[in-house]
């Protein structure tokens, strides 16, 4: 009998998160994490972060105007999401939680469609198979198992795709991510567990989630390497994820990445963060803003100018406008769709209930009391 792990020290995360960009944009080359991005791709990472923030802000506005029931902002986490999602190939899959607007936009999921869950128009608007992007998963960490199973399924099929799942620091306390990492380790499934450590699970800070030296240290317990990265550094996030993805694609199994970031907004629009964190803390976190950092880097590389900014801003505005148009006063569909897609073969189920709703709808049309 032997266990799969090689030298346990190979599984431990580095003492410090991988970091390539200082907040002022200074780039530190790291031979373990070379950048394989051309100038256009560097600008693209920046563009996607700016668009994400714009749409994110628009979503908050729409909630304030009563157009969304609630919204979970990803402000401050744009680099963690976009750097990681951009490291995947088009055939690779993502299983998100509910805060991954940035990753969704990388996958070209329609931004307004993404928000229909929050409006309550539909529970989901996108076809997962059209974007290789799973449904948003609200029960914390549960999607990690779907990702592990999907990756096992790809491996059983000798299909060299990689699956990535997102969850948060709070998610690492739930049982399902642990079971997912157990399965992934045992079956050597090509899956990346990407944790956005944004420091809070609603109001509860990281120190109440774990006594581990870091979240990435947990990975060793499953025979999985744990990596840590500065999640507000889009280049480092990209490079670390890229390395883990290629490792998985070559058959070396799963990886766990802890991206250190900070949730700049409330947990959701229903939350009041002034009850659990200070303005000083927010001001401090704002200094590590991922977008400003990338802009500084592009400027230093002479890849940024006002024309670029104007073009991106115009596109971000257009996207936000489209989101507003798609969401504002959007009608729900046919109420009778309630009974659709519950069963592939609904034989015997709820026929009378459908008829009842039909009658209620007819009564409403006739102006009768329901």
């Amino acid at each position: 009998m032997s266990t799969a792990a090689s030298d346990p020290n190979d599984l431990l995360p580095p003492d410090e998160p991988v970091h390539l960009l200082d907040p002022d944009g200074t780039y530190h080359a790291d031979p373990d994490h070379p950048l394989d991005l051309d100038d256009g791709q560097l600008r693209e990472l920046y563009r996607m972060m700016v668009v994400t923030r714009k749409v994110d802000r628009e979503a908050i506005n729409l909630q304030r105007q009563g157009q969304l029931g609630v919204y979970a902002s990803c402000m401050g986490q744009e680099a963690a999401q976009i750097g990681s999602a951009y490291a995947l190939a088009a055939d690779d899959w993502i299983f998100p939680s509910y805060r991954e607007l940035g990753a969704a936009l990388v996958r070209e999921v329609d931004a307004a469609g993404f928000l229909h869950l929050y409006r309550g128009t539909w529970l989901s608007d996108h076809d997962p198979y059209a974007h290789n992007f799973g449904l948003m998963s609200i029960p914390i960490g549960t999607q990690a198992l779907h990702a592990a199973g999907f990756a096992m399924g790809a491996a059983f099929d000798d299909n060299p795709i990689v699956t990535m799942t997102y969850f948060g620091d709070g998610g690492t306390s739930e049982g399902d991510p642990h079971e997912a990492m157990t399965f992934a380790g045992v079956f050597k499934a090509p899956v990346i567990f990407f944790v956005q450590n944004n420091q809070y699970a609603i109001s509860v800070p990281l120190e109440r989630q774990t006594a581990a030296p870091s979240l990435a240290h947990k990975a060793i317990g499953y025979g999985i390497p744990g990596f840590r990265v500065d999640g507000n550094d889009v280049l480092a996030t990209y490079a670390v994820t890229r390395r883990a993805v290629e490792r998985a694609r070559q058959g070396h199994g799963p990886a766990f990445i802890e991206a250190m970031t900070y949730r700049m907004e409330a947990h959701t629009t229903s939350d009041d963060p002034t009850r659990y964190r200070t303005q000083e803390e927010l001001d401090e976190a704002a200094k590590t803003d991922p977008i400003a950092r990338m802009r500084n880097y592009l400027t230093a590389r002479d890849l940024y100018d006002q024309d670029l900014e104007d073009g991106i801003e115009e596109q971000a505005k257009a996207t936000a406008t489209a989101v507003r148009a798609g969401i504002y006063d959007a009608e729900h569909g046919d109420p009778l769709e309630l009974f659709e897609h519950v069963y592939d073969d609904p034989t015997g189920h709820f026929d009378h209930q459908r008829e009842q709703l039909q009658a209620e709808l007819a009564g409403a049309v006739d102006g009768e009391d329901l």
Partner: protein, 323 residues
């Protein structure tokens, strides 16, 4: 040829794995050991350890990965080793397996079969004798079925695997060794239909799974008393075959629902409600229930006092007839 329920289900698994290379069978101890009840005996040897494999001991993981495998395009059959160990998987079953096809507006199909040996009567240690069927039947998006005969064990198992809906397949473990004289393969009635196992004129016993045989024994004994009992095997607990239930009560005028599970808010409550809605003027007596008690499942030495048996059923029959 004499076939036990366990052998019939095993044969169905093997035949479906043979017919469809996308079918996977996995769970705890289902590989080399062949399952603690030997229901998966020989499958790993025949189909290899990629088609039939042992998982880590983690029920939520078994169901959660089944969902991912199904999304990829496999057709998973997942075994929960015992009824009382399905609860760690409750969230994956209720929040994802049952809902995802609906949440995705039909873009995701989850053709997952969850096999669960269930029920008591084998003298097992605690947590090994539960009847959790009402939880699943209460959950929209799941189909719930349970065979009461070896023939149904074979035919319904194959239908469950072929279904594009998630199916909770409840196997009455005390009947695993029950035999019938059957030539496999056999095709029985469609899974959503209830079946009259014995025709009668005085009272209908509605039952399923482990209680089908008990009700047939009760009907035999009742005949000695001069009572003619009809026995209806519900087979499908979601959906319920309301038409068959109503038709039987229209013939007999009296109904008793029999199940091992505790009485309150069990399947019997739903059956009784549907009968009074659909056959109110045919009823000669209230619909009665002969079930387990509203207490935790008892220690093995007490289970004979807890489980409904022929006496409890016939007592209910007498109360119905003398109402």
């Amino acid at each position: 040829m004499a076939v036990t329920l366990a052998q019939a289900i095993n044969a169905a698994l093997a035949d479906e794995m043979e017919a469809d290379p996308k079918v996977l069978m996995f769970g705890e101890d289902v590989g080399q050991l062949g399952g603690v009840f030997r229901v998966t005996d020989g499958l790993q040897e025949r189909f290899g350890d990629k088609r039939c494999y042992d998982t880590p001991l983690a029920e939520s993981g078994i169901i959660g990965t089944a969902i991912g495998l199904a999304m990829y395009g496999w057709r998973p059959v997942a075994e929960m080793q015992f009824d009382g160990f399905t609860y760690p998987a409750f969230e994956q079953i209720v929040s994802h397996l049952a809902k995802m096809p609906n949440r995705s507006r039909g873009t995701v199909k989850l053709p997952v079969t969850v096999r669960i040996p269930y029920g008591g009567g084998i003298g097992a240690v605690e947590h090994h004798s539960e009847s959790p069927e009402a939880y699943w039947a209460h959950t929209a998006g799941l189909k719930v079925m349970t065979p009461g005969t070896p023939d149904d064990g074979y035919s319904m198992m194959r239908a469950a695997i072929r279904s594009d809906d998630p199916v909770i397949f409840l196997e009455p473990k005390r009947r695993y060794w029950m035999k019938s004289d059957t030539e496999l393969p056999v095709t029985t009635e469609p899974t959503h239909e209830a079946v009259v196992r014995r025709e009668g004129t005085d009272v209908t016993l509605f039952c399923y799974g482990p209680m089908v045989r008990t009700c047939l024994e009760a009907a035999d004994q009742a005949a000695d008393e001069g009572w003619s009992l009809e026995v209806v095997d519900l087979r499908s607990l979601s959906p319920l075959d309301t038409a068959a239930m109503v038709a039987s009560v229209q013939r007999t005028g009296r109904a008793i629902v029999v199940h091992e599970a505790a009485m309150t808010l069990g399947i019997g409550a739903e059956v009784a409600a549907r009968i009074q809605e659909g056959a109110f003027y045919h009823l000669e007596a209230p619909v009665l229930r002969a079930t387990g008690f509203d207490t935790p499942y008892p220690p093995a030495k007490l289970e004979e006092y807890w489980l409904p048996d022929v006496d409890r059923i016939l007592d209910a029959v007498e109360r119905s007839l003398t109402f």
